[in-house]
Symmetry: C2
Subunit: 393 residues, 2 copies
């Protein structure tokens, strides 16, 4: 039986390697919040606090507390982050900064809603630890605020300019799906159901049937393919979107979309995988024209982590052998290239050929999130599937 | 005689390969301005107009017209860019956009002064074609405006936040030096001389004697080395700064600084050069700690182009054999890795090991600038040095 092997492997990697790394090295008990710029051995190489990653780590430790074990040390770590986030991360208008000084003073504002997206997830999951309904209410009200920011980027200082193609970004649908799945049970708002249906429909408008993937941008009319954004394929993002939309479609009873979502997952893996050196690319141009991103051909940890859980989910739901083939391939590549058993947590960055380009375990975008989320979700999904098999037997 | 060989090589590469590429492929005679997102063969893969590169190409074609040959087609290309720049690139407050639609409508505003820096250079050099003193006056007045924007970033929408370390950026000194060298003869303002002295002094405050280089950031006090910015070394930038400061020191009679500038050039080449695979790295951390830039270990065309001219300049001024050794090394690497005789112009991006990662010849930062500037300056400097040798003989 190969699946129990994977379940045990991901559980062990999560609880014996990944989470201990963040417990040992990331928590700033003195000033609050989390360090995320951590070298291979956990040494801090930038003491500032990156807000996306504060929210993500609060969410992760709250989720572990809620779903794995009610360990006080995990809850204390979540609380340490939450107090810091609520104490420092917002400006006078409630917008979230991107970066804070170690002590919490604001350091950089990014004209994007993502720092707040992860705060919504953090508040919602932290509320479930029993912390109090003020966190639940804050999650819901910030959720609706983020929806406004996504609809009106000028509120974050990014004016719509008349010469910009009118693209809609896949990221908008994906973060709405991500937040909605987290707050659906606590929102108590009938508008949310309709929003989730719209979100699924809008995300699927990114489907490019010719390539079987989700494109990063839609709209822009007939001239869309003139622009790099209009041709942009981000394999890890398309794969992450596939599993999120799968869960979303299940949640809102839209199973008629599952075959299409399954085909998107398969298409994204097939097109995004580097047949020569292995791994999912970071960015691709569907017409194989030049990319503006210098790091396009690099192999990052998170697309592989997303693909791990996406194939686990697809196999658990369909029992189709092709997903096991993909899982074996991705698992072999991800653990060979990114796992670091000596020090814990995964590396983040290799070049196309597989040479390690950075020794770091965390930075301003990599924190306690993609790896433990993929491991936790995969472990739990495989375990549930195993129990179902045992029940059926 | 090796030096006449290099002079002829650079002249030929400039006039038979690089400039013809941009003449053939970049000029948008229909809507005005220049395409710069050009693939290997010149195919346009993004028709938008990137404003840094509009100014740079106007400057380059004006300079060719002024210093190489008064060819009407070169002047027409400069005029095409200048009309587009002045017609479309500014907002109502005179700030320069980063990107425009093909037809000139604004598409993206970057909260930085660099688009305007290259407009200053463009206006000043274009004025010298005989185009009229309104361009000279516009260059001088925009120059002083850019100085204000550098001193008060909040004018460009980037508020100073209390938690950000108080770093001064090498880029600020470098762009002031760059502009000042271009407008000094036309400014007619006694403040400019003092500004040039201050600029030299401030740039040299970035000197890190332990490593013999210029650091990207200074200030930040004793804790500066806690931050990635405080440890950041950009070899190509440090090398570019060295030749700019060399010319600046000559221009304002500060020859007492030349030994130090020479040692900075030598230190930057020594530390920045990849002894294993050749070429100057893009970014380095002086304590060898992790870098936030994913593309840090890549080899870009422009640091090699800057190093080419810097070593030509140093050899022409000192006749020291060590500069010829460096020149041979850089020339061999740059032409082997980046020159593309079949289609013209240089490639832009290789990974550390030397694999080509992008086939493009231009994008939103690479245009008609670093390569032809380095070739023109190197050719002219070698020719003048040759004439001096012949006169002395």
């Amino acid at each position: 039986m190969i699946l129990p092997h994977y379940a045990a492997k991901y559980q062990t990697n999560l609880l014996d390697s990944v989470i201990p790394f963040w417990v040992r090295h990331s928590v700033d008990w003195r000033e609050g919040g989390y360090f995320t710029c951590l070298d291979r051995d956990g040494a801090v190489y930038d003491p500032r606090k990156y807000v996306w990653l504060q929210g993500r780590q609060i969410w992760m430790f709250s989720r572990l507390y809620n779903q794995v074990e009610r360990r006080q040390d995990w809850l204390d770590i979540a609380t340490n982050g939450m107090n810091f986030l609520l104490g420092h991360a917002r400006d006078a208008e409630g917008r979230y900064y991107f970066r804070l000084a170690r002590d919490g003073r604001p350091s950089f504002f990014q004209r994007k809603p993502y720092a707040a997206v992860f705060a919504v997830m953090a508040l919602a999951e932290y509320a479930r630890t029993g912390a109090g309904e003020q966190y639940r209410d804050a999650a819901v009200s910030l959720f609706w605020q983020v929806i406004e920011w996504i609809r009106q980027p000028a509120l974050l200082g990014r004016d719509a300019l008349p010469g910009q193609p009118s693209f809609q970004s896949l990221a908008d649908s994906i973060v709405i799906a991500k937040m909605a799945l987290e707050i659906e049970d606590i929102a108590g708002d009938p508008r949310l159901g309709q929003l989730m249906h719209n979100c699924l429909d809008e995300a699927l408008l990114h489907h490019d049937p010719a390539n079987g993937i989700l494109l990063e941008s839609r709209g822009g009319g007939e001239e869309a393919r003139l622009y790099p954004e209009g041709r942009l394929f981000n394999p890890g993002h398309s794969v992450e979107a596939a599993w999120l939309l799968w869960l979303l479609a299940e949640r809102i009873g839209r199973s008629e979309q599952l075959p299409r979502i399954q085909s998107i997952l398969e298409g994204s893996l097939a097109m995004g995988w580097d047949e020569e050196f292995g791994g999912l690319y970071y960015f691709m141009d569907i017409e194989r024209r030049p990319l503006l991103q210098l790091e396009a051909s690099m192999k990052l940890w998170w697309p592989q982590a997303e693909a791990l859980f996406a194939t686990v989910l697809a196999h658990s739901r369909t029992a189709d052998a092709r997903w096991l083939t993909w899982l074996e391939r991705i698992d072999e590549y991800a653990f060979r290239c990114f796992d670091d058993p000596g020090h814990g947590e995964w590396f983040g960055y290799r070049d196309r050929q597989g040479n390690l380009t950075h020794t770091l375990k965390g930075n301003h975008y990599k924190g306690c999130f993609h790896v433990p989320r993929a491991l936790l979700f995969s472990w739990k999904t495989l375990s549930e599937a195993g129990e179902n098999v045992r029940r059926d037997a």
